[in-house]
């Protein structure tokens, strides 16, 4: 497309570092988050929660709570006995579906599980009332270890099941046993990845309103998946018609995967609104968020790697026992951790044979679900830490070992069937080494060791599945398709409105998608408005998660915009009696190629479509004048890739790890807006660092939850996260619309392994092996002691 340079704008918006449209409201403090919504007569809900990890509810007495002034309603499981449970399952034979009652009547299975709800005139009063609820409990045996939960004779956490595993899945490709039998060397490792929380700064929250006239609901919810919430909840709430249920996800203060699930409160709060006849607000407090939303990434992994004596990888074996918590999280199931970790076992290594076994074991802990990077984080950490150990054992440089086994840059199908769409698998590793000044760093390490100081460097090259569509889902073991549409409309004055069923909660869709559609239609980016998050207004979609929005939103916008553009072109061509092929649209004006005097604004074209004639032109006969198109896009599998490197110094007397440098080389194909991409990478990397060093949702052996506040669950601050240095390689996808790949999870997937490897490298003179995260100072000292036999 020929383009004329226009002062003050980039030639193409895609790829430009446009500042964010959405900033204006957040900077002024006028964003609208769920807790900012107030409705007349609104009540406030508070939940009474189990203090026990596993107990029978003998009786509940709510009379004193009901009698408190200001209390309007108190509901328990008995009141909701007829309410349908969440049923989490997958259409595959290994899976046994799991039921979760929104308020259990007879038995609780984890600390923090809701058993009653109060609606009152203020949150303060609702909490006062919760303190007056009296429950008689009969404690039951507690399971906190996933392996113990799978052991024969373990008490079953769910009636009617034969084991405590939600699913046992096995996979094999290639001649695995033969490879292990004939290998020169076999290495093995158990790694226990820590239990993490997505911990968005805005907790979950709901405002629900029931309309007795229509029988329908409006629900504002801090969710990444408003349409899915509607589709899954409407019928549970007894609605005959899904479209009577309007779900609005307004500004959302971070999600990171946590807000793609359905939780008991999502059903109970609208129920309570109908029950009381008044709007009801519930804002999750920090304890509730940490104790009773979703946890993530805790998997106990046993990996084996068969190699030749010079380090060529021959085969992987992996056993992944995920800690599912008390229930299978709805609707995604706990397999978002253990199964996807296993599928990505070969990663970017050229290895012909892979076998894995996967379980998701119930324990008396909070259910586990999706958090940025899902189980890929845990799997990556275990695999990459093992590879560093292999390098040490073979006395090879760890990067030399990796590069010997890295797949070529062309499209490649892994032993587990992942269809990589081409990337910079080796180049990104070399680039990370170059940026770091690897050889000089090794020299510095050597001289510091002579002073008794312990510097370490760790690498973590990764592939990052993105654009989660039906094909990707099936590859990862989830037999589903999705429907994600974009509706592009040119309004009468030529401005452009785009609606999507995706949702932006920090990802800057209002900016980046405007860039995509403005380029495609040839209009000014300022004239575009992106609308998401309201099921009554926008095209349908399954929401934003799985690094899917750039690929799927971008692709569906391109397809819809192309359809609308054809109509704009047809009207302009008709006006100028030119061939449609000769019409160019740029910066809001259509021109005829070679005739610069023939120019018409998109405003006038739109006016013609809506209202007929303008000066000198009319609608082309037979043209459907609706300047709108709705299209979906289900992309093939695509994978970003990159490499993260970390440099640490370890204080071997206190076990403190000082993270000195973090370098990220990222290749996510064509970038819509590099500034936004870098924000995603930096944020994801910081979360990965948190998982490696600080964040841990600890339980004691009795299932008591020990990390229910932010002095115990440790978000990293400005002092713990160093300046993160980001470099790009841009290898367009060979398979997606626009060459876009997903971005946003690689940092969380790969940073922990880089940090752990750096610590292990620093401590290699002690012979330390690391088998779990996070690396608290205490743990670091205990690894040193273990290596020294103390």
């Amino acid at each position: 497309m020929a383009q004329t340079s226009v002062e003050g704008r980039p030639d193409r918006y895609v790829g430009a570092r446009l500042p964010r449209v959405e900033d204006a409201r957040f900077l002024r403090g006028v964003g609208k988050f769920v807790d900012d919504i107030r409705l007349p007569g609104m009540l406030h809900a508070a939940f009474f929660r189990s203090p026990h990890a596993h107990a029978r509810i003998v009786s509940i007495d709510v009379e004193q709570a009901r009698a408190l002034e200001g209390v309007v309603a108190v509901l328990t499981g008995a009141d909701l006995a007829d309410f349908p449970p969440f049923v989490a399952g997958l259409p595959r034979p290994e899976v046994k579906a799991n039921e979760r009652h929104v308020l259990p009547a007879d038995r609780v299975r984890f600390v923090g599980e809701a058993v009653a709800v109060v609606a009152a005139t203020s949150r303060y009063v609702a909490e006062d009332a919760c303190a007056l609820i009296d429950v008689e409990w009969e404690p039951l045996p507690v399971l906190t270890d996933p392996h113990a939960s799978l052991a024969p004779g373990a008490p079953l956490l769910h009636e009617g099941s034969e084991s405590n595993s939600f699913a046992h899945i096995e996979f094999e490709h290639g001649e695995v046993e033969k490879a292990f039998a004939e290998a020169d060397r076999v290495f093995s490792k158990r790694f226990h990845h820590g239990r993490m929380h997505a911990a968005p700064l805005e907790t979950r929250g709901i405002v629900a309103e029931h309309d007795p006239g229509s029988g329908g609901f409006t629900m504002w919810t801090s969710s990444q998946v408003p349409h899915l919430t509607r589709s899954l909840l409407a019928h549970m709430l007894g609605l005959t018609y899904e479209n009577q249920f309007r779900v609005i996800a307004p500004d959302v203060g971070g999600g990171f995967g946590l807000k793609i699930h359905l939780f008991p409160e999502d059903a109970v709060v609208p129920y309570l609104a109908r029950h009381t006849g008044r709007p009801v607000k519930w804002i999750e407090d920090r304890y509730e968020s940490l104790a009773a939303s979703t946890h993530a990434k805790e998997i106990v992994m046993d990996l084996e790697l068969a190699t030749t004596s010079d380090g060529k990888f021959l085969a992987f074996r992996g056993r992944y026992v995920g800690d599912a918590g008390a229930y299978a999280i709805y609707p995604w199931t706990p397999l978002v951790d253990s199964l996807v970790a296993a599928v990505l076992l070969p990663s970017l290594y050229d290895v012909p044979a892979v076998r894995f076994e996967v379980d998701a074991a119930y324990t008396n802990k909070c259910p586990t679900g999706a958090y940025r990077g899902v189980g890929w984080t845990s799997g990556q950490t275990a695999r990459e830490v093992l590879i560093d150990e292999v390098a040490r054992a073979l006395e090879l440089d760890p990067m030399e070992l990796r590069l010997r086994n890295t797949i070529p840059s062309e499209p490649y199908v892994s032993a587990t069937g992942c269809r990589y769409d081409g990337g910079s698998y080796a180049e990104s590793q070399r680039k990370a080494m170059e940026v770091l000044g690897y050889d000089a760093l090794r020299e510095r390490q050597k001289s510091l060791r002579e002073e008794g100081r312990y510097l370490g460097v760790g690498f973590s090259p990764f592939v990052e599945p993105g654009g989660w569509s039906g094909e990707m889902a099936k590859r990862m073991g989830f037999p589903f398709d999705y429907m994600d549409a974009a509706r592009v409309t040119v309004e009468p004055d030529g401005t452009v409105t785009v609606t999507l069923g995706l949702h932006s909660h920090g990802q800057a869709h209002e900016t980046t998608f405007a860039q995509v559609v403005a380029d495609r239609l040839g209009v000014k980016v300022e004239s575009v408005r992106i609308l998401e998050g309201d099921t009554a207004v926008t095209a349908y979609g399954t929401g934003t998660w799985g690094s899917r929005s750039a690929v799927i939103g971008g692709g569906s916008i391109m397809r819809a915009a192309d359809e609308v553009r054809e109509k704009l072109v047809a009207i302009a061509a008709h006006a100028f009696e030119a061939s449609p092929g000769d019409i160019e649209i740029y910066d809001g004006n259509a021109t005829v190629k070679g005739s610069p005097d023939k120019s018409i604004s998109v405003t006038m074209i739109a006016y013609t479509a809506y209202f007929g004639a303008f000066v000198g032109g009319t609608r082309p006969p037979g043209l459907d004048p609706a300047l709108t198109a709705t299209r979906s896009y289900e992309p093939p599998e695509s994978y970003a890739n990159g490499c993260i490197a970390a440099v640490v110094e370890v204080d071997v007397e206190t076990g403190q790890v000082e993270l000195q440098q973090v370098v990220v080389v990222d290749d996510c194909g064509i970038m819509l807006n590099p500034t936004v991409v870098e924000g995603q990478i930096a944020g994801a990397t910081a979360q990965g660092i948190g998982g490696a060093l600080y964040e841990d949702l600890a339980y004691d052996a009795n299932g008591q939850f020990l990390a229910g506040n932010l002095l115990d669950y440790l978000y990293p601050t400005t002092m713990e996260i160093p300046a993160i240095e980001i470099h790009h390689i841009e290898t367009p996808s060979t398979v997606t619309e626009g060459g876009i790949k997903g971005v946003g999870e690689g940092g969380t997937i790969a940073a922990p392994a880089a940090v752990v490897n750096a610590v292990a490298d620093a401590l290699s003179p002690f012979g330390v092996t690391i088998d779990r995260t996070p690396l608290s100072p205490d743990r670091v000292l205990s690894f040193i002691r273990a290596a020294e036999g103390r």
Partner: protein, 255 residues
Amino acid sequence: MLAGGQSLVPLMNLRLALPAVLVDVNGIRELDGVSVNGSVEIGAISRQLAVESSVGDAAPLVAEALRHVGHPAIRSRGTFGGTVAHGDPAAEIPAVLLALGGSVVARGPGGERVISADDLFVTHFTTALEPTEILTRVRIPRAGAGQRWGFAEVARRQGDFALAGVAATAEVDPDGVCRAARIVLFGVADRPLRAAAAEAALHGRKLGDPAALYDAGQLAAEGLEPRADIHASSRYRREVAAVLVRRALGQAAAR
């Protein structure tokens, strides 16, 4: 009683503290202000941030320790007297008060009395203040030009409570020989704890002597039975206490 509220209000928000009556003392002007004369007198409700910026050379150890207390938005509200009276065994300021040989002025129905820091801290969140008394002032001997001091702690993050920490002061003669030392551990016992054996062992030895520092660390940690929590085991806190004693005294020697 409510002053800065930076410890009490979180407990109330979590419904772990449910006081029936709360008396706000923030309006009592006489309790506010720092004066530096023969000693450093700090009014009980003086904000930690204000103390940090006003004690200067008169109590450099106090200023250093305060930088480890929470964050600026906590210290701008949190009071100096509050953190002393709260008696948190993992808090920095009680340990520093003890290391500096300070005292507090308490006022009750019977009038005023002075309680030495050595007698003040009883056990977890418990001081020698009577239920009818309030802490009105904290008194710290003014640092001489040659005051040797050191401060070292290990916390999970900036501003977090210490897993273990040490505040130490020492007097040395012109040859660098230690004539007296006060070594106080925090985060490792039910109260800030003076390491008497270590203090005694240093007497007459050169403060810069690595062997002396090592011995002091080992003696200070001996017999400690710190509590364990999700952030650190008892063993960790004990081992690191020895390291931190060594480092704090090393700082003192180098000053």
